[in-house]
């Protein structure tokens, strides 16, 4: 007589080290194999879009810090670009360069955590992530120099940045840019051909190109599936059209490719920072903007290539001091759309890796 079996429901999270915040996967298992999965979130919902309707345009910048708190600078940048588009503000040259430098440093910092946490999920517990955090710490020191903060920087302003960099910043940045490629080589040596990483991530959680596009994936997740799409090249904002850099793309769309794309992007970011450091002019870092901005009636959508993907702000103005509507196009949320397709058919231990390879930040998913 055949053994009678029935599906088993297992909740992974919301509080679990591998869910990177408060995320719940409600999985249905057949033995150890996942047959269905429903992502459940909202545990960190703070209603930022609603809060934004009550605040002045400048007052919203600290809220954007708390979206993807591992990439506050990119959030600041996307939001400021949207307001500038709406109000027609022109940003001084030096501020544009500072913005690019900060955004690229932020990309490295975010990818370091992304890769480190991914290694944690793979089972290389804490050793690789501590290497990554060692380097990220230097970036946080740089951010502390310019903004006084180490996590929520609130550095950018409508029409520029809040303050100029101190004298010791550029030498420290130069040192970082010269040292970092060596550390990336060190990581590659440790990880890129590591037996454990290859065995656990090659061919696991394949996201086909068509699905990636159809499910609105963006950032490294989209590029790992072989789509050469980067907002910095496709729709250059700020001054990204002045820099030379490549867009690394994967081919298989598996977890390893997502890891690999992130590592290569860090190298490209260093290239951009190097060029920006050479070209940066002197001058004002902020143009004259009234404290209470009231842009003309209208709407604007501005987007940037944040570390996790396309981050967009859609603002509607009714000519008052607060936006009528502020919508945030969160890359972390949309990258989760295809998660169900990725994990079905894999074991629970693989689902953890697949989820880790997408690299999300719950602050941005729930908003």
């Amino acid at each position: 007589m055949a053994l009678k079996t029935e599906p088993f429901v297992l909740n992974i999270g919301p509080v679990h080290p591998s869910t990177h915040g408060v995320f719940r996967m409600r999985t249905t298992l057949d033995g150890e194999v996942i047959v269905d999965m429903e992502p459940v979130f909202g545990y960190l919902h703070r209603g930022i879009e609603k809060l934004a309707e009550e605040r002045t345009y400048t007052g919203i910048i600290p809220l954007t810090d708390r979206l993807d708190y591992l990439a506050s600078m990119s959030n600041n940048l996307a939001y400021c670009l949207a307001v500038e588009k709406l109000a027609g503000v022109k940003v001084p040259e030096r501020a544009e360069y500072l913005r690019v430098i900060m955004a690229e440093l932020q990309r490295i910092a975010s990818h370091l955590i992304g890769v480190g946490a991914f290694m944690n999920d793979c089972g290389a517990f804490m050793t690789p992530i501590l290497y990554m955090i060692r380097e990220r710490e230097k970036i946080l020191d740089l951010f502390e120099m310019v903004s006084g903060q180490r996590l929520t920087y609130n550095y950018m302003r409508v029409g520029g940045v809040s303050q100029d960099i101190p004298d010791e910043f550029l030498p420290a940045l130069d040192k970082f840019v010269r040292q970092m490629p060596g550390f990336l080589d060190e990581y590659d040596q440790l990880l890129a051909e590591n037996e454990v990483l290859l065995a656990r991530s090659k061919g696991v959680g394949i996201l086909p190109k068509e699905l990636a596009i159809n499910a609105s994936a963006s950032g490294p997740v989209l590029r790992a599936s072989g789509v050469k799409w980067d907002i910095r090249k496709a729709d250059p904002y700020s001054i990204y059209d002045r820099f030379e850099f490549d867009i690394p793309t994967g081919s298989a769309g598996d977890c390893y490719d997502r890891y690999w794309v992130r590592v290569q992007e860090m190298r490209q970011s260093l290239r951009i920072i190097k060029q920006a450091m050479e070209q940066i002019p002197s001058g004002a870092v902020r143009c004259e903007v009234t404290h209470l901005i009231h842009p003309p009636v209208g709407e604007a959508y501005a987007r940037v290539e944040a570390p996790k993907g396309e981050l967009g702000f859609y603002l509607v103005s009714d000519n008052s001091i607060a936006p009528y509507r502020c919508h945030i196009r969160a890359p972390s949320l949309l990258n989760l759309t295809a998660l169900r397709d990725l994990v079905i058919g894999w074991k629970v231990a693989d689902a953890i890796i697949i989820f880790g390879s997408i690299d999300i930040c719950m602050g941005e998913v729930d908003r």
């Binding site: 699905l211 159809n214 609105s216 959508y301 396309e310």
Partner: protein, 146 residues
């Protein structure tokens, strides 16, 4: 560089195929009637010279008299984008057609709009609250929510 297509130009092209669909068009956006949203979206996605294969974002705005749904469409192949809008009149159980069958990326975003604004998407496979809990009363992003 992404080309932002003019709404009025696309509207002209559309009227050839869907004479009744376009409600309003400007340079920034094309507004279609809510009942023809799905067929227009289908046309925008499948027409080879437009080829809007990527749905960047969906959002909704509450203007009291109506809800306006804003679809940011992008074509990765041609690198152009278009803002498609539709309006949903009436505050009592507003509803539009879901585009999940065309773009999977609409799934979570439509659920979010339903959750926070109360607009129902007919044809959505799993229209449940997404960030607030089941049993929550009201839809907080509506302008009349206190």
């Amino acid at each position: 560089m992404t080309v932002y297509l003019s709404g009025s130009k696309i509207a002209k092209q559309m009227t050839e195929n869907f004479p009744e669909a376009v409600a309003e068009a400007s340079d920034q956006a094309v507004v279609v009637k809510s009942e023809s949203l799905l067929e227009v979206a289908q046309y925008l996605k499948s027409s080879p010279e437009l080829d809007f294969d990527y749905l960047t974002s969906i959002t909704a705005v509450d203007y009291y008299e109506y809800f306006e749904l804003v679809y940011q469409l992008t074509s990765l192949k041609h690198n152009h984008s278009l803002v498609l809008k539709t309006r949903c009149y009436g505050r009592d159980k507003p509803a539009v057609l879901s585009v999940v069958s065309l773009w999977r990326g609409a799934d979570f975003q439509e659920r979010e709009i339903y959750d926070l604004m109360g607009i129902r998407f007919n044809g959505h496979p799993n229209l449940n609250r997404i960030v607030l809990w089941q049993g929550f009363e009201g839809h907080p992003l509506c302008k009349d929510y206190l």
